[in-house]
Amino acid sequence: MLKKRIIGVVIVKGDISVQSKSFSRYLPLGKPEIAIEFLNQWGVDEIIMLDISASRKGVGPNLSLVSKVAQKCLVPLTVGGGVSNIDQIHQLMQCGADKISLNQATFNNHKFITQAAKVFGNQCIVASIDAIKEDNEYYVYNYIKERSVSINPTDFAKKLQDIGAGEIFLNNITLDGSQTGFDISLINMIANSISIPLICCGGAGMPKHFLEVLTKTNVSGVAAANLFNYFEHSVTIIKSIAFKDHPIRHDSTYTYNEANFCELGRVQKKSDKILEKMLFEKIEKEVI
């Protein structure tokens, strides 16, 4: 059976990975290649790397960075930011990208989306929608123009599906960096009106938020950016909690299946009895 994906998002500005809050404040985190190496080791299902400075500066995608991070990435890598023509997609694929995320083209170049889907197959094209809630209504947000557009995100998703997008990456600006959980009603509205996979992002703050969105919606993937940077083994821990009730790939050499967690997902100390038993347990390293 097809598993739900737990997806790590790495936001970069130039060569640095950053933490974003409401798409307006950014905190530098460090080297993107290190973030990606760790996400990989922790058993993430997919990685999305978005360069939020490329389109703003009017430059193309950062090819050298993509080559560098791809070295550490043995899971599918989606790259977005500054992509505006077919040649750039060819170059990105050669650098190690597997899928391309398009955002600005969703506003100004639908022909390009259709053409890209024709050349690379629609499974390669991810349309990224930023949604915002204003006066209790949902709108699409254009982060370059820094304002909302009078389009409904559900209609927009349907439109993008029709012109060739193979997946929708929905980012909720209102909840970005809030750690208060996903917007279930928006996710449901979109997921139920399209026939391509939906990835949701924005609002993840603790493991129970993943459980909630997996239980109440039929998203294909759940993504988070900031949260995965907060604690060691974050992906493995969230999977250890979620895989018990949901179809999730969970096969890291180490797991936290027997562990207890606090609400924030921090591991609690095991009982002395268990720790004593573990002293004598030898785990052989798997050689492929």
Binding site: M1, L2, K3, K4, R5, N40, G43, D45, E46, S67, A70, Q71, L74, V75, P76, H90, M93, Q94, C95, G96, A97, D98, K99, K118, V119, F120, G121, N122, Q123, C124, G166, E167, I194, S195, I196, P197, L198, S220, G221, R249, D251, E286, I288
Partner: protein, 210 residues
């Protein structure tokens, strides 16, 4: 370890870099990304990667005269070849993606759009478990139901005897095929972490070096 000479076929559409990186992770050093006749004819094993639409892929194979070079290497010299995703679909008689296009015709069958119930998302994207139909060199190191990363809207339909593994996406989807020295997988082993590395290792371990 005696290093096999592995050639990853370069025809401008595959994600060659990802495949190369996965093989390097396993410690293979004698790898070339190439479309030259001399490399292909001296290789111990070939990999035909693929991301993209069928039409573009088959056109590029013809543009670089790779169909005849590969026909010779695979059908006459019997070199082991592993096709990945569209690389596997190219081995069919024809594909119905965006029209009707002739394939290499190595394994009799056709590539058609996944016929799914209306509420099921297409493309089929994500990690799915395999049901292995028969023993194969590809899955020697895996447990009972290994999982791999899939990302496709079309699938290879062929005679059951060629299908070595399938997966369930409300319908049965062809996941891996084999006929003599020809292997194909619909999923992406280069993007399937440990499961994928195991598959590559099993495949190259099965090759006799001469």
């Amino acid at each position: 370890m005696k290093q096999p000479f592995i050639v990853i076929i370069d025809y401008d559409v595959g994600n060659v870099f990802s495949v190369l990186k996965a093989l390097e992770t396993l410690g293979y050093t004698n790898i070339k990304i190439s479309r030259s006749i001399s490399d292909i004819s001296s290789a111990n094993a070939l990999i035909l990667p693929g991301v993209g639409a069928f039409e573009e892929c088959i056109n590029n194979l013809h543009r670089y005269n790779l169909h005849s070079i590969l026909n010779d290497a695979v059908l006459i010299k019997k070199k082991p070849i592993l096709g990945i995703c569209v690389g596997m679909q190219l081995m069919a008689d024809y594909s119905e993606e965006n029209g009707k296009f002739q394939g290499l015709g190595w394994i009799s069958g056709k590539v058609t759009k996944l016929k799914l119930p209306p509420h099921i998302a297409i493309p089929h994207v994500g990690w799915n478990d395999l049901a292995i139909n028969r023993e194969s060199p590809l899955f020697k190191k895996h447990g009972k139901a290994p999982h791999f990363y899939f990302d496709h809207s079309y699938q290879f339909l062929c005679d059951k005897r060629f299908v070595i593994a399938s997966c369930n996406y409300t319908i049965e989807v062809t996941a891996a095929i084999n006929h003599h020295n020809i292997f194909g997988v619909q999923f992406h082993p280069e993007k399937s972490q440990i499961s994928g590395l195991k598959l590559f290792r099993s495949f190259f371990d099965s090759i006799e070096l001469c």
